[in-house]
Symmetry: D3
Subunit: 208 residues, 6 copies
């Protein structure tokens, strides 16, 4: 499917919304530049796998070094080898984005939690209040750490790392929890600073 | 449709979720008492109109005076005559519940915003961050007032009321905005205090 | 005593104050409507028992369904059967109102704590900082729960309910603590939103 | 009147309270040392003028240099020459102490506001929420500055000083507002750190 | 060294800075008055020992009773007999000033921590985040108490005092911790309110 | 200079400190892996230009994809083409890190501000309270945006972007301000989560 038809598809989905999600991706007027071959291939892969190019990538597409650095870091963190499952990384993404009330990331990664877990309710719980979810102690400790790191990073200390080790996380896992939480603390702010709008197609995904 | 079959229907919807939304309505062991005729009729009407009895009503059903007072106040505020549309009242409900991160109210009234507005995205925006919604100045002022009243009620003063009057709200409208915001500041806390769980059927409503 | 003479009496008490407590009950121009017979009887009962009609009732008297719903809920919560004493319910009212810095409720319910307890200092402690009061563990746990529910409702969880059960509260008691705390989180906000002023007669009550 | 009879008098006033205000002045076991002649004379003057020695002075009386420094600073700030009236200085004291929820200072200086102003309601307003008081622009600006300086001193800047100058305060007045607000930010913390209890006689003062 | 030559020296040090630290000591136009003999002697002693008169003293020099009260309290607290070492008192000063983000006090007392401890890194840690310093349990408890007393004085209770006693602090030590923390909560606010600027010579002191 | 001799040099500088800054770079036991040729070259370039390898790079060196992604993003943001000067980017880094009280980033980037600006006082101001610095309106607006984006990203809206445009920033500049602020919101959290320690050599750099 071409990028153009992907856009058409998502427009239909958002017919009723005046959110402008698909028309004005950010509040900044930054012209898309020519994609490098690597990024051209990456965008094509997005369309092939997702049916569309996530708007965050289009937002970064005004500058290739920035887009490439973002993609490299994102893919390593969210899809690379880790003791955290892909679902756990998405859960961190959403719990952090909820703390920061980031519309873009809550929509895009809320859909991911719903999709990866095949549990639509879990996605809603991460968006609304992760404390209300009935999680096992490992995942609860993971999210408590990520959210404390988000809201008062200055107060994270050895006791907090110990709480992670006590439920079985390794030192490498602790790094990964911190790195995913850190990454979304960055992305949430770039999205909020630029009024970044998610592809409206996310809203209806994985609801049933 | 009987209450029993309504429950069956919602169970199917939440098959994948281990949220327990439909089995344990609150964390408190409070036996349902016999419904008064008025409340029996009201529950039947819920089933007729919604297909189910909202869990908050079941949660209150251990004591008829409490249930009746809650129903009377709720119906007057949310459905009675007002200069605010029903959608506007639901928008206040969700924006306040987002500030308080109340799972029950975000699920139930998020569905209501999606349904009343026929705009699924608007529901998500109210849940996630009302500031990201592209609202007209009247609705924006209304939600700014409701959310400030939620987060720092001690600082609401004449300037805040003036901001409402400046976009056309009457004194009666200001009362209604305050009363709806106040009501959900109450309900959010009762729900959080008791770990109240929404009917899982809400999650899938009005998504398309 | 008629409502008119009650007003005269309270005017004398507030002679020195330019607070306007008794002249402008709220900042909203909402004309009193005709009381229903039930509310007429209720106002008369207030004058008989208290010597005056609390201003909050006059503030709601522009609309009978709203007044009646408020009165029904208030009387059930504060005066109805409960495992909490009337003093304990008033203590919650004041501790919550202190957190929200609500002038109306602190004045009216501070007077109630002084009166019900026959301990003027206890009323001041609830207004100023309940943590400074030398309470038994049961009442301290009750107020800790109510104030946490006020300031960060999203973080109230099973451990908080356990702390109440550990000092002897039943599940029904927990509901009542939450419901009273919730009710004043509503009332505080309606009072602040409308600049509601207490009857000035409260200030001097139960001081000796 | 001797210190002994002053104590007897205040004991009667607090008969019903189990606040221990007059028996355990602080939570710290610090033996009173022998008063210097200057402090002996000062305590006698307190008894002569007030009928009692304020507990804060007894709390400092374990060490004469500390007591003398406190008394010197207090008397200069609160009673010395200033463009601020004594009432205005007491209003700052109470508004700051309300922000910090300091039981000792709210009781002692709330009584002072009631007494100096001959307006019991004004004292309650300063304790509960100074924003609800109907103040002239000068006094409102003064308290806004003092409370902002209390809650977020890092954000006080030239615009805040300008707001004081705009209502007529001189640079010397600005110093005095800051110094009184600063002093109570110190005293509030020493009182809270030591669980300092006010003389219970304050509670009933200047109520009529 | 005369005051004039001390000024010359510090001017050289701050050549590159446009901070105006040495030219405009505060944002208030308050003329220095004639020093009393005691204060004249004290300023001379500062020049003899430090090489300069700290700007805070010049800021107070518009009024001798204020200057003398400040000096008396400061010297008693920071230099008088105490179970706390002078370094510990300076550590409290800086940790409190960091919480309040007070430029003047962080510069002046950060230099003092560096100097008294002969450990430049310790000074930086107190300025930046005392929790990152590798302190013994006694000093950590001391700073935890001082910082909690700064950020939420209303919540300091017996458990907090017990934590100090548990690491060996006496009741007198607890007073001194509270008094030093309280004093800097005052000074931080006077400095912020007046935009007080430190002597620029502090910046380079004790860095090696 | 070899990495070994660089380490020896910095050890001397930190002789008096027991901060362990140079011995335990993080609280996590993550073994350094073999550097890729590109990273080997990059580390060598650090030693050549700085005299040492910044500890953050060593902390990431357990995993080459993570190190390479971090280096690519860092170098693009902080050293790549931008309408913001390198000093301005470092000022954002420090102001954000001050808000988050991140020891590592304050030390490393505080040194950078001192070095790039040749103004040691400016570095201290960014660490302590950027509001106290006497900045031109452009830089002040830039830091106000970055710090608001750090502390309450959900509240950044069009008015905030307008404030940047009003002092001359382009849309691309706004992206860069957001991206640098976002990046340090990530890095601050990874540093705090892992107790990352700066090279102690930074402390003494660019002080004179």
């Amino acid at each position: 499917m071409s990028r153009k038809s992907a856009k058409a598809k998502s427009s239909v989905q958002s017919r009723k919304a005046d959110s402008g999600d698909d028309t004005d991706i950010t509040a900044l007027a930054l012209a898309e530049t020519k994609l490098t071959p690597a990024m051209e291939a990456y965008f094509d892969k997005c369309i092939e796998k997702l049916g569309f190019v996530p708007n965050v990538l289009k937002a970064y597409a005004f500058d290739m070094p920035k887009l490439e650095a973002f993609v490299a870091m994102y893919n390593d963190l969210m899809l690379g080898p880790s003791g955290l499952s892909k679902l756990e990384r998405e859960m961190i993404a959403v719990a952090v984005s909820s703390q920061n009330r980031c519309y873009y990331c809550l929509v895009a990664h809320g859909a991911a939690v719903r999709g990866v877990s095949d549990d639509p309710v879990l996605g809603e719980l991460m968006v609304m209040n992760y404390r209300a979810a009935r999680l096992d102690p490992r995942q609860r400790a993971m999210l408590d750490f990520a959210v404390k790191l988000t809201s008062e990073p200055w107060a994270v200390e050895e006791d907090d790392r110990k709480a992670l080790r006590d439920v079985g996380f390794s030192d490498r896992d602790i790094w990964d929890i911190a790195a995913v939480a850190g990454f979304f603390n960055m992305s949430n702010r770039i999205a909020s600073a630029t009024d970044m709008r998610p592809n409206s197609i996310y809203h209806g995904q994985n609801r049933a």
